[in-house]
Symmetry: C2
Subunit: 474 residues, 2 copies
Amino acid sequence: MSAALIAALRAAVGERHVWTDPDQIAPHLREDRRRWTGEAIAVVHPGSTEEVAACVRACAEAGVAMVPQGGNTGLVGGGVPRGGVVITTGRMNRIRSVDPLNATITVESGCTLASVQEAAAEAGRLFPLSLASEGTCQIGGNLSTNAGGTGVLHYGNTRELCLGVEVVLPDGRILNELSALRKDNTGYDLRDLFIGAEGTLGIITTAVLKLFPKPATKVTAFAGCAGPEAALAIFDILRARAGDSLTAFEYLERFGVEMVLAHLPGARDPMTEAHPAYCLIELSSPDPDADLEARMENALAEAIESGLVADAVIGRSEAQNAALWSLRENMSEMQKHYGASIKHDVAVPVARVAEFITTGVGLCRDYMPPVRPCPFGHFGDGNIHFNLTRPVDMSDAEFLSHYPRFNRIVHDLVASMGGSISAEHGIGLAKRDELPRYKDPVALALMASLKSAIDPQNLMNPGKVLAPATEGTR
Amino acid sequence: MSAALIAALRAAVGERHVWTDPDQIAPHLREDRRRWTGEAIAVVHPGSTEEVAACVRACAEAGVAMVPQGGNTGLVGGGVPRGGVVITTGRMNRIRSVDPLNATITVESGCTLASVQEAAAEAGRLFPLSLASEGTCQIGGNLSTNAGGTGVLHYGNTRELCLGVEVVLPDGRILNELSALRKDNTGYDLRDLFIGAEGTLGIITTAVLKLFPKPATKVTAFAGCAGPEAALAIFDILRARAGDSLTAFEYLERFGVEMVLAHLPGARDPMTEAHPAYCLIELSSPDPDADLEARMENALAEAIESGLVADAVIGRSEAQNAALWSLRENMSEMQKHYGASIKHDVAVPVARVAEFITTGVGLCRDYMPPVRPCPFGHFGDGNIHFNLTRPVDMSDAEFLSHYPRFNRIVHDLVASMGGSISAEHGIGLAKRDELPRYKDPVALALMASLKSAIDPQNLMNPGKVLAPATEGTR
C-alpha cells in the first residue's frame, strides 16, 4: 500500500524529490521549539502546481493524509505531520512576475518572505509583511496562517495583502483564483477561505500579492511611560496627529527591555533613566516632503505636556532606528536566558488593550505572586504577546506544569473582553483543544461543515485547527 | 401549508409585520430599473436577530424559499423574490455602539448607509463607504454585495471595512462572529464567506465596521487629457506624488460630461475648451497640516510638463469641489436622456485599464459603428462602467436587442485580460447565466459545494449567483 503510494509519488515528482530516509526527513517532522515531534512515511518536494496536484491525487486515492509544509517556522504545530505524507512547497520558489504599475507581484508559494520583499524592492515598491522569520518562512505559510507582524497597523494582515490564490484542493483539483484585481464580485470569496486555514482545506501554490509605494521617509521614536494606560493615550494622540503615516506602534515593558540590555551584544538603554513601559513608534510616508520628524516631535510634545510620556528619544540615523527596533525584535529570543516561559498570543479590541494587560498581570500574580510577566507586542493592533517568565526560584519543569492553568486564566480574561486566543499564530495543534471553549459553537460547527464539504476524506492536514472529536460529530 | 407558515411568521414577528396584501408587497417584488418582477407569498419585517432566526426556522421547516432584502437598491436582481417569503432588514436599524478609540461601529444590518456615515461623523470619525444610493441602501445589503463606490481606492471595498458579522444561517441558527478585533486567527474566515454572497448563504443581521480618522483637509481637481492612456500615466504620477493621500481617481469622457452639462440644472464646464477625457482627482488627509494643494499642483504641473494633462482646475471651495464631483455622480442618471443604454460593470488589472477602454470602444464600434460609448468610473481601481448609449437613429428596442451581443464582446475582452465581469454590482440574476462562461469551473463547483453544505435545502435566495442547473449538478 505504502510502497505503491511511494512509487506514485516518485512518478509524479521524480525519484530524488521523494524522501523516505529517516535522517533525511527528520527536520520535517519537528518544529523549532520541539514541542511536537511527528511522523511521516515520506516527504515529497514537488516543483510545480501540477506536481503538487499529482501528489495530492496519489495520496487521496490511497486514502493517506497529507501535511503541507513551507518554511516550517510555525509556532502552533500546524506543519507537524502525524503520519502520512509531508508535501513541501520549497522548490516552487519563483517570482512569476512583478507589475509596478498594477502594484502587484505574482509569486509561487515556496518563495521566502524575504525574497518577495526583495523582488518588490527591486521594482521600486514595498511588500510590507515583515516577520522575525522572514528569511526562512515561505509566503505559502504566511498565507495559510494569515501571518501578522509589525506592519499590520498600517498595511493589514497577510489576508489584506493578497488579491488572488491558486490552490490544490484535497482531491487534486486546481482552483484558479489568481486574480490581480482590486474589485471582483463574481461569487463567493473563495480566496479568504484558504487564507488562514492552516493547510487544512488545500495547498496554496501561487498567489498575487499587493505592492505599495516605498516609504521615502521614516522616523522612529522610543517613549518611556508609566504603563499600558499611558501607552493607550499616547497611541490615541499619535493616531490623531500622524494619521496614515503611523506605521507601527509597539509596546514593551521594563523587564523585557532589561532582558535585551543584559544579553544582546551591543544593546544599550536609549534613555538615562528606567521607565516602567515603552512605546516604539514609527512614522513613514511615500511622500519625500512629508515632515515626519516635526510630526513626531509635535505628537510627543503633546504627550509630554499631558504627562503621558516621561522621556523620549527620536532615532536620528538608520543605525539609531535599528538599535531601537532591536530592543523589540530580540525580546522573545532574550527571554530564553531567564528560564521557561508560558506564552500567549492574544488580541483584544484596541480600546481595551491597556485594561487587558493590567488585569491580566494582576490575575497571574494573584495565582503565582513571584511570576515575572513580560507582556509586549503589537499594541496598536490590540495584539499582545502576553508572556510569563518563571519565578527566579522555581524550576522550569515546575513552572511549566502550570501552563494549562495560566492559559485558562489569560484566555478566560481575553474571552470576557471579546478577544481572540490566537491573534496571529493560528490554532494548529497548540490551541486546537482549547478552541471549543472560546469559539461560538455555531462557528465551530460551520467550520466542520466546510471542512467536510471540501475535504470529505479528512486527509488534508487532519487534526489541525479542528479536533478529531469535532470532526467526528460533523 | 402556506397558511400555517403565515401563522408561524405572525407568531414570530407580530401580525402587523407580516404583509400579504398584493398592493402592500408590490414594492418588494420589483427593483428600480424594472428589469425583473418577482412574486412572494409574504413580506415579513422582523425587528431583531432572534425574530429573523424565528422566521428562517419557520420557512426552513416549511421548505419555503427566503429572499433577504435591505434597501432594495441592488442592480442585478439579487433581491427580487421568485416565490417564497421576503425577509426585510429595515426594522433592524439601530446603531448599537460607536467606539472612537477602538475605531469601530456596531450596527444592525437595516441601518441605511447614510445613517452609519452620520453616526461615525458625530463621533468624529469617518465611515468611508459612499454610494449614489446611500440614503436608501442598507448596510446589510452593502455587505452582502461587497459594495464598492468612490472610496475604494484608499479604503477598500465593503469587505475591507468589516471586522465582524452576525448571521442567521439557512436553518435558523445564529452565527456570532461579531469580532471588533484587528487580528484574530482562530479558524476559518467565516465572515468573508457571507460578505459578497448576495444573501444566498444566510442573512447578515449585525456588523462591526471599521472607522477612520476624519479627513481634515481635502482638495479636488479636474484634469483634461487626450484619453485613457494619458489618464493611466497621470494616475501613476499622482500615486507616486500623493501616496496615501490619493483618495479618489475617477475617469470620465467628453460624451458623458456633455450629457451632464446639457441636462443637469446648474452644471457648467469647468474649462473653457473641451477635452476628449477627464480625470477627477481627490487628495485628502487626516493631517490638518498636510499641504495637499501644493501636492496636487506639483503633480499636475509634472503631468502638464509631460504633455499628459492639457488643462486642469483645482476646486477652491467646497462648492467648487461639489460641482466637480456632480459631473461624475450624475453621469448614470443623465444618460437616460439619450435613450437606452447597455451597461457593463467590469474590472481589469489597473495597469491594463487604458488598453481595455481603447480596445473595448474599438470592438463595439466595429460591431455597430454609430454606437455611442460612454465609459467612466473608478479608474484607479481598474473598475470601469463601460456603458453604451444607443445610436442617435436607432430605437431603444432595436438597440436593446443587441444587449447579449455587446455583453459577449465586452465580457470576452475583459476575460481575455484577466478581468472580472462584475466589479462591484454582483451576479444576482443579471449575470448568473453568464458566469459559467467566465469563471474557473473548479471555483464554480466549489461555490456549489459550499452552498450545498450551508444551505442543503437550497432555500436561501435560491437561483441567485448560482444557476439552478449548477445547483442540480453539484
